[in-house]
Assembly symmetry: C2
Homo-oligomer: 180 residues x 2
Amino acid sequence: MSQTMKDKILQAAEDRVRGAGFAEMSFRDLAKDVGIKSASVHYHFPTKPDLGEALVQRYAEQFEVHLEKIDQDDLQKALDGFVALYSQALVLNESICLCAVMGAEAIGLPENVNQRTKAFFAMNKTWLEHLFTRHGIEDAGDKAGLVVAALEGGMIVASASNDRTLFDRVARTAMASITI
Amino acid sequence: MSQTMKDKILQAAEDRVRGAGFAEMSFRDLAKDVGIKSASVHYHFPTKPDLGEALVQRYAEQFEVHLEKIDQDDLQKALDGFVALYSQALVLNESICLCAVMGAEAIGLPENVNQRTKAFFAMNKTWLEHLFTRHGIEDAGDKAGLVVAALEGGMIVASASNDRTLFDRVARTAMASITI
DNA sequence: TCATATCTACCTATCAGTAGGTAGACAACC
DNA sequence: GGTTGTCTACCTACTGATAGGTAGATATGA
């Protein structure tokens, strides 16, 4: 299962954006990462917005696969799996959720990129909402929105503070406020 | 009360960072904004990290003043005031909280800037924690952390989705999970 | 089957524009 | 006369993007 050059570029781009932001990522950096010239990166992704859109789309698709895997009837196990997905996205001094970065930069980003980011958040919220509804939890939609916001925000606070326990506490407290 | 040039630069920088990110803000942009040359901006802030640090410090100081103003014994009124502070920081297609941006970009930012961002989050959490403790709310620290994360995250989700009601719902749901 | 044509995936070279930063001149003010 | 604040003029490094070209795979048609 060999990776195509397009995939290699997207992977390099994801690493860089999740580490330093979309504005900080350049075609030349990506070219060096994958071993081609920057002009060749433009062959695969004509413009930076094109690359950004493909990037978020791929990230969301991969995330969706994971969501399907952890989808199960046991509420506690499903929630644990959900938190674990976010927890894995947070590596101190290395990366946070791609869409936390894209969301924070949203105002200065191309509209096509923002649409994909918006869709990512909506997908996460919907997944949780369905889970909550199945278990008869009231205000499922609002509570789903709270959990997504808390986890994304918790990731940012933890990353800036260089303290992973801050994320863990936020996640635990958010879950407690739902399942009680 | 005329503004000093230093303050004018910081204000322009804040507007730009909150709109498009720290990486996207340039000395030339700021120079145009305040009507001087970029070399003169370097006179006030020798390097970009210097500017970034002063920026977050000023933002935190101003926020602290606001926190002192809304500090009162009525729990609901204090919480409403807190949420209002965050709500005011969110202007669709224009700005979000400075520290949400700085936090999201943290991995690629200078350490002195991150220290200030970390202090901002800590200050917010501490303010809430004291409020909760005064009202005998259990797990005051964890709940304070949840609220800060939820509001910062809610701002990001709402900004990327270009939908202010997403923030309002997150804020309301977070508050409900505390005061019940 | 061989020649022609097209496509893929790169390359080199270059562009105009912008980045952060510096040196040194100059004027205003205490 | 020194300090403060701003200027002009410049530097090197890098940005996204484009032009034009090429080797090799693949498809088309006589």
